[in-house]
């Protein structure tokens, strides 16, 4: 298997409070990995460890995270975040910026100069995010004027603009209506041709629909990690089966 991210013996802490225990996962390239588990199990903390955002909120980690075989826990977090774009639960376009500038902002911050080229990159990203057809005539409109589903796709386009290798999605469709959710799920399916995607979701059916592999977390432990088809048909652990069947507790 071609491994994009290799996580070994990862512990995460908030102060002295340990929230992830000895997590080891190999994440294959160009696949979608769903992270599932009840609230407080460490799903979001796990993805935030990957792009070093856990440290931003005062957390610490132990263990190893390798991206393409290179350790990233000791690298400048800004460089890591260029390689790992993130999309959050609630769409968060920059409120004062137009649709165009929302996507271009990352490019500008990274010193991407030429305006003509920038327009091409913005168009490409909006197309990749399946938003271009809906906004191509309103690129100067404010990002906040879009619908919730469009805003979320705008955020995905913004994340794609800096040309990441991995996309981290923390419940990207949980605040969206079913049609917007379907668009995001279709988008995930298309994007995995070029990106490795890790998606945190509370929606079991969504995990089953979009992901190739699923990891089940519970109280900071990785209970089971396997092909999604196996997790949702005949998981190895009873705890996993109880959870996916909705009989947990």
């Amino acid at each position: 298997m071609d491994i994009k991210l290799s996580i070994k013996n990862l512990d995460a802490y908030y102060g002295k409070n340990k929230v992830l225990n000895n997590i080891s996962i190999d994440i294959p390239r160009n696949k979608v990995i769903a992270i599932i588990g009840p609230s407080g199990c460490g799903k979001s903390t796990f993805v935030r460890c990957l792009n070093r955002m856990h440290e931003v909120v005062g957390g610490t980690i132990k263990g190893s995270i390798e991206l393409d075989g290179k350790e990233i826990t000791n690298v400048d977090p800004v460089l890591i975040r260029k390689k790992m774009g993130m999309v959050f639960q609630k769409p968060n376009p920059f409120p004062s910026m137009s649709v165009f500038n929302n996507v271009a902002s990352g490019l500008k911050l990274n010193g991407f100069g030429r305006k003509k080229d920038m327009a091409q990159v913005v168009e490409k990203c909006l197309k990749q995010a399946a938003l271009w057809d809906e906004v191509k005539d309103h690129l100067n409109q404010g990002g906040m004027e879009l619908s919730g589903g469009q805003q979320q796709r705008l955020c995905i386009a913004r994340a794609l603009a800096v040309n990441p290798e991995v996309l981290l999605m923390d419940e990207p469709a949980s605040a969206l209506d079913p049609i917007s959710t379907t668009k995001i799920e279709d988008l995930i399916f298309d994007l995995k041709k070029n990106y490795t995607i890790i998606i945190v979701t509370h929606n079991m059916q969504q995990a089953a629909r979009v992901s190739d592999y699923t990891a089940f977390f519970y109280v900071g432990d990785l209970i089971e990690y396997n092909e999604t088809q196996k997790i949702f048909t005949i998981p190895d652990k009873k705890q996993t089966e109880d959870y996916v069947r909705g009989r947990f507790g």
């Binding site: 079991m204 059916q205 089953a208 949702f232 048909t233 005949i234 998981p235 089966e241 996916v244 069947r245 909705g246 009989r247």
Partner: protein
């Protein structure tokens, strides 16, 4: 939601058990008629089959509702899938019981032929297979289901033996052509009953052990795309 879901699954199982009991009663009745030659036992078999058909519709609807409303996964998904498959097999068993009752009526005057041909022995084995397949479902007993599957070959052998015996008798005595033809059709029904019992047992193994065991070693597994 969780309790509601469990209740739906429980209701489905209860209805399948009720349907299976009806089918078992029908089989019991027609095989007793075959064994004793008492055609009166066949009375009421056909009307009772309508109730089995009604269960077929009820269970299909219940499964559809569970798929649509609860999106079952893992063992629950296998239970609903196997319930659909078992429901279909039980409905066919009900039809076969009716078919057997019709042939029993037409061959009641040829009891010695029934005994000598080995049809009774074949019927008893198929009857036991059906009973055990139903029990395996009620008890979630995949070991018992495995025994049912193994017995199918024996019924097939007995079917061949009965067929050869009846053909021999038709060749030897023209007056036996009609009853022997009815009995050949009867053995065909019994053989199919054993096949359906086998299918029920295979569905039970799929539910309990998550293994597809039907049609094994007959053709290489096909790729999904």
């Amino acid at each position: 939601m969780q309790e509601h879901y469990s209740q739906e699954i429980e209701r489905l199982k209860t209805n399948l058990i009720k349907m299976a009991s009806l089918v078992d009663d029908q089989a019991e009745r027609v095989f007793n008629a075959l064994e004793t030659g008492d055609v009166e036992l066949c009375r009421g078999v056909k009307p009772k089959d309508l109730e089995i058909d009604a269960y077929d519709n009820l269970i299909t609807t219940q499964c559809e509702n569970i798929f649509a409303l609860f999106q079952p996964v893992a063992v629950d998904l296998r239970f609903v899938i196997s319930s659909l498959m078992i429901n279909n097999q039980l409905e066919r068993c009900g039809d076969i019981a009716v078919n057997i009752s019709q042939r029993v009526k037409k061959t009641s005057g040829f009891h010695s032929l029934i005994i000598e041909s080995g049809i009774l022995e074949m019927g008893q084995k198929a009857r036991l297979m059906l009973k055990n397949s139903i029990d395996s479902f009620i008890q979630n007993n995949s070991k018992l289901a495995g025994e049912v599957i193994l017995n199918d070959e024996e019924v097939d052998k007995l079917n061949k033996h009965c067929f050869n015996y009846l053909v021999f008798n038709m060749q030897a005595d023209n007056s036996l052509i009609e009853p022997c033809t009815h009995l050949i059709v009867l053995t065909r029904h019994i053989e199919r009953l054993a096949d359906h019992a086998t299918n029920i047992a295979e569905s039970l193994v799929f539910y309990v052990e998550a293994r597809l065991i039907a049609h094994q070693n007959k053709h290489p597994k096909l790729p999904e795309e």
